[in-house]
Symmetry: C2
């Protein structure tokens, strides 16, 4: 049982987290939000008040914070009395924030794997490079640390666990499919931080197949899916966090991640990548200035948070899980459909931020009421999925299933 939440970060996902925390502040207690640029926190809090999102009267305060500074994070946790930290800052700050939680005993959550500025897609399993190295430390300190609890990774890990627990006797493959069938109306934009978005796709595509890590290139393996609501969509095998934890829990299953890309995105990506403009390594201009090309690309692209007002259409994210049931082959597709415009109307963010920002708030509520306050480090598939998915049904991300018995909503 814990209370009082510190949100770290002030981007599009943090905006969703802030609104959802406010909508549930009767459970979560005092709310705090911290970012390098405190004015961005102020704006988020203002938007929370504008929508009268606070369920009950309570604290919501903004703080300036360098989240790479563990001592500063720990000091803020102590000062605010926060027992739950929702880290939705850049993936470069995971380890420093986790360290502060271990130091103070606060529960930790994030939504993406730790990265170092100058490295891309390191040796699989990725979690083994940073987070899992602190597993023993969390256990020793009795610290709850839930890794990757956004939508993907996060909810899709819970879907896989649910399929394995409830719908199949054995699991042969887990294919996670992430389709954004929405339209932002810009010539080109990424849906979240371009730097993080592109970094996902510039390295080796790791999948877990036939009991071993397999390597492919981005856009090398494509598949057309026919999905509920969004219809036929082309998706490509992509490196992604959840492959690296699910393969650890289900080593006998093939685990793959598929992301939908339009030809236009692929073309822009291919041009930028082949020219070297997605590199995280500095280049020197003719004038002698050292510049990281990817940071310049980020600077010229639209701010993803600016897309929200005009974003239309829906996302479909889910897991195709195959295996056997009662000795016969079986397959389920467990999924969620979200709507960009609905997300904007509710919390002022587009659907991609919404799907990533709601789940950590559900997790925080489960830590607050003790259900998920496990006192150790866990990936989402290590935890009982039903209370999590049940809560998500209530707070904006309902789960559906499509299998031999039809396409229907799931309740828990």
């Amino acid at each position: 049982m814990k209370k009082n939440c510190l949100i770290i970060g002030a981007g599009g996902v943090a905006q969703v987290v802030a609104h959802k925390c406010a909508q549930n502040n009767d459970v979560l207690g005092d709310l705090h939000i911290a970012s390098r640029t405190v004015s961005k926190c102020d704006e988020i809090i203002a938007s929370v008040h504008e929508k009268s999102a606070m369920k009950v009267d309570g604290v919501f305060k903004a703080h300036a914070l360098d989240a790479t500074d563990t001592a500063a994070v720990a000091a803020l946790i102590r000062e605010t009395g926060c027992e739950i930290v929702i880290n939705v800052g850049s993936p470069f700050v995971n380890m420093s924030v986790l360290e502060a939680c271990i130091e103070t005993g606060a529960a930790y959550m994030d939504t993406a794997i730790h990265e170092e500025q100058d490295k891309i897609c390191e040796t699989p399993p990725w979690y083994g490079n940073y987070e899992w190295k602190r597993r023993d430390a969390c256990k020793y300190a009795n610290v709850t640390a839930i890794l990757g609890v956004g939508f993907d990774p996060g909810v899709v890990n819970a879907y896989a666990r649910l399929a394995a627990d409830e719908y199949l006797d054995s699991v042969e493959s887990i294919d996670i499919v992430d389709i954004n069938a929405g339209s932002h109306g810009k010539w080109f934009s990424t849906n979240f931080d371009p730097e993080i978005n592109f970094r996902e796709f510039t390295g080796t595509v790791y999948s877990w197949q036939n009991g071993a890590w397999q390597s492919n290139k981005m856009f090398e393996v494509g598949h057309e899916y026919d999905l509920p609501v969004v219809g036929k969509q082309k998706a490509y095998m992509t490196g992604h966090d959840e492959v690296h934890s699910l393969s650890n829990r289900y080593p006998e299953a093939d685990v793959r991640f598929w992301m939908g890309f339009g030809d236009h995105y692929i073309n822009v990506f291919t041009v930028l990548k082949n020219l070297g403009l997605l590199s995280e390594q500095p280049v020197k201009t003719a004038e002698g200035q050292e510049v990281i090309p990817l940071k310049v690309v980020k600077a010229v692209l639209p701010d993803p948070s600016s897309l929200a007002p005009d974003y239309t259409g829906k996302t479909c994210i889910g897991d195709f899980v195959k295996g056997t049931k009662d000795g016969k082959p079986a397959e389920v597709f467990i999924y969620n459909i979200s709507d960009h415009k609905d997300a904007y109307n509710e919390v002022g963010s587009q659907g991609i931020s919404y799907t990533a920002g709601v789940p950590p708030v559900a997790a925080a509520m489960l830590i607050a009421n003790g259900t998920w306050d496990v006192g150790e480090m866990a990936n989402v598939e290590d935890l009982d999925p039903k209370p999590f998915l049940g809560l998500l049904n209530e707070i904006g991300l309902p789960t559906r299933i499509k299998d031999a018995d039809g396409d229907r909503a799931l309740t828990f």
Copy 2:
């Protein structure tokens, strides 16, 4: 009658100029080459000696020079006793070098219009913005200044004048077509300085039609040409220097410039331009660094001079000139074919640099022997084209013509 040449610049075109000057140092006298980075000058001189290019024993010296510093340029002109300056540095230094020539009495040549770092494609006629403002000063100082004496602008201006003088009674249109049908084998590269290359195409496409300036967008107007040697090629109406001087001499004619582009170039260009990566205006990264996107694009692209060893194929550049002859409609195509590999074997540069670098050396020789030492500012079409084209026939850029009488070499 003038002698001793100072070459300013040390890029691919300067390499060609250096070799061609060396091959004709009996006429041109002492040779000097100056650039901000003196090591690049040393490399060029070494390549001249490697090919034993000096026709007679003589001076060839390298100098460090900031060509934006008029006083420094003037001092070097005086120190070296150079009476001829071939400016093949960046187009940002034209006016400071011209000023130094006016001060010292040296003859001036360049191959591209002056540009300021922070402006693109200003009000037509472009020459009116900078160079022509010093026309009276040149005349007063009795300084020969030949503007734009590369291939295009340069040789194509002489072709237009030749067509008007010798093959037509009236001129209705001049369409200059520049096709590079060569292949450099890289995924993408520009053939000369990417910064200058892209700047040519990011602004308004000005053409002179129906007695007035017309504006189009890049890649808006395309035309397929069927040309000698290189065959059918798609070209697009493009803004270019020579349109701005030829329209002044032949205001009754339509004057257009067409450049060949493959779909791949257009795609890369379109992506970079639409994203804002070709902007010459600084942007600020999330980390607060001020960066000019175009300079970063330049930094990641191949150095054009690195293309030369593997470059194959040919260029075709020429003028379609239409009008009347003896009261009947008539058309001529006056053109040159150059070969990338031949250029590399002779001077160590690819064909694009070769076609740009040979003409100013021909012009320098005509200044040295007095023929073009006119003691005033001139665009190439203001000068007698025959000695120029005759000399080019001898030193590497032969002229051909295709008209009702067939396709044949021209002699002068």
